[in-house]
Amino acid sequence: MSKSTGVASRPVSVSDVSTPRAELFARVLDPASRANPYPLYAALRSEPVSRQSDGTWVVSGFDEIAALLHDPRISSDMTNAGQSAGGQSLIMQDPPNHDRLRAAVMGRFTPEVVESLRQEVHNLIDGLLDAVGSGTSLDLVEEIAYPLPVSVICALLGIPPQDEARFHGWADTLARTLDLDPTMSREEQAAIDHAFTELHHYLENLVADRAEHRGDDLVSGLLTGGDRGEPLRGQELLITVRLLLIAGHETTVNLITNGMLTLLRHPDILERFRREPELVVPMVEELVRYEPSVQFRYRAALADIEIAGTTIPRGSVVVLLLAAGSRDPGHFTDPDSFVPDRIPNEHFGFGGGIHYCIGAPLARMEAQIVLPELVRRLINPRLTMDPPPYRPTAALRGPRHLWIEVDGIRP
């Protein structure tokens, strides 16, 4: 592969348009690309580590992403690339602080805790589908996919049901903070600050209450500590709980929504899924590969990093384009096809290395329960609009609405 400096400005053909390679990531960020960014990723991958005209380095090859996810010279703390602090939660921190906080969460985010939410997920999807009633059309996002994950996290944290509505509001607003979004308006920023303050006050009271009356919820667990993790207190506890709410919300919304969208676009696979319910296990993994909720993550280079015949200079902003790596033809056969029983399927949908998604077991369980229930209960579902309208954010990608027509809802 040619890596001479002149390459960056040579136009590359992306379906019906030509874009200079160094401008491709700007097009990824453009909301107009949201419905189908994958041709842009394919064009980027022709130079798997690509310097963009704004100085950002975009990494889009499977091997290169895998290498950098495990490279200690790559930081998740964006102040190392001259950006303002994006919050002090563990997802934006490096070892040793990251590892300490992560151990505290993992010590309490156990298989038993995840398993204890299974019945709750069943109850939630039952209730949400019942609430659709006898209608013949629904917005899967508003009516099902959006409310469900927040309720699950509330159950995880032990939020009393009467406070849940407020959590839904905060989660909506704060979802945007996972994206480093330069286009964010002053009003949006103000709304986020306001939600942060309110959530903060709420959690302060919750934590004070749990300190007095420990339960078997995660907040009590984090306060107590476990075998592997020390107890969390004060600010650190608040910031960690807030991260769980943000990281586990819209990602799961998008997995459920992208799941139905993908099935409705592949009627043959939908039919097969009806006959073979066990297909859901590899299929959820394939969904996370094929239409990942998290398309990319930002990192900072702590040193000059030689990779793929080029050098990422120290202090650079690095984009790990996970969704491009998960469709790298060098690693996957037929990467642009949705193959529900793809085995093996080593994808980056939940990241990799020390920041690998903490909530992956919970997200898998939710999707493995919800998708079969949707397919079982929705009678003759059809997409009303394809492609559906998308949320503007590029890193956290998913439909804003998914309107579906049905002949009815089975009991």
């Binding site: 590892d99 993992m106 298989p111 296990v281 093996p344 399927n345 080593e346 290395g353 690998y356 898998r364």
Partner: protein, 87 residues
């Protein structure tokens, strides 16, 4: 049913323990231990573990037939290059 883990690939992400705690365990210092011949009762859990493994190190096969006992004692592996996910 037979379960095999490629221990050269395993990085102790621990996803298998969530999917099939009856088969997989990561003990103290991030050492994976597993039952290589679990009961068929846990088939679905084993399939979930195979799918969830971030490095796809798990293979599942039919139980060894009579006369060709392929069972192995539970395997263990040092934590050399583990990513510290459970640390």
């Amino acid at each position: 049913m037979r379960v095999m883990v490629d221990l050269a690939r395993c990085q102790s992400y621990g996803q298998c323990v969530f999917a099939a705690p009856e088969i997989f365990e990561i003990s103290g210092q991030e050492v994976l231990e597993y039952d290589s011949a679990p009961s068929d009762e846990w088939r679905l859990h084993a399939l979930r573990a195979r799918a969830a493994c971030p490095v796809q190190a798990i293979t599942i096969g039919p139980a060894a037939g009579p006369g060709q006992d392929l069972r192995q004692p539970p395997a263990t592996r040092p934590a050399a290059d583990s990513v510290g996910v459970l640390r």
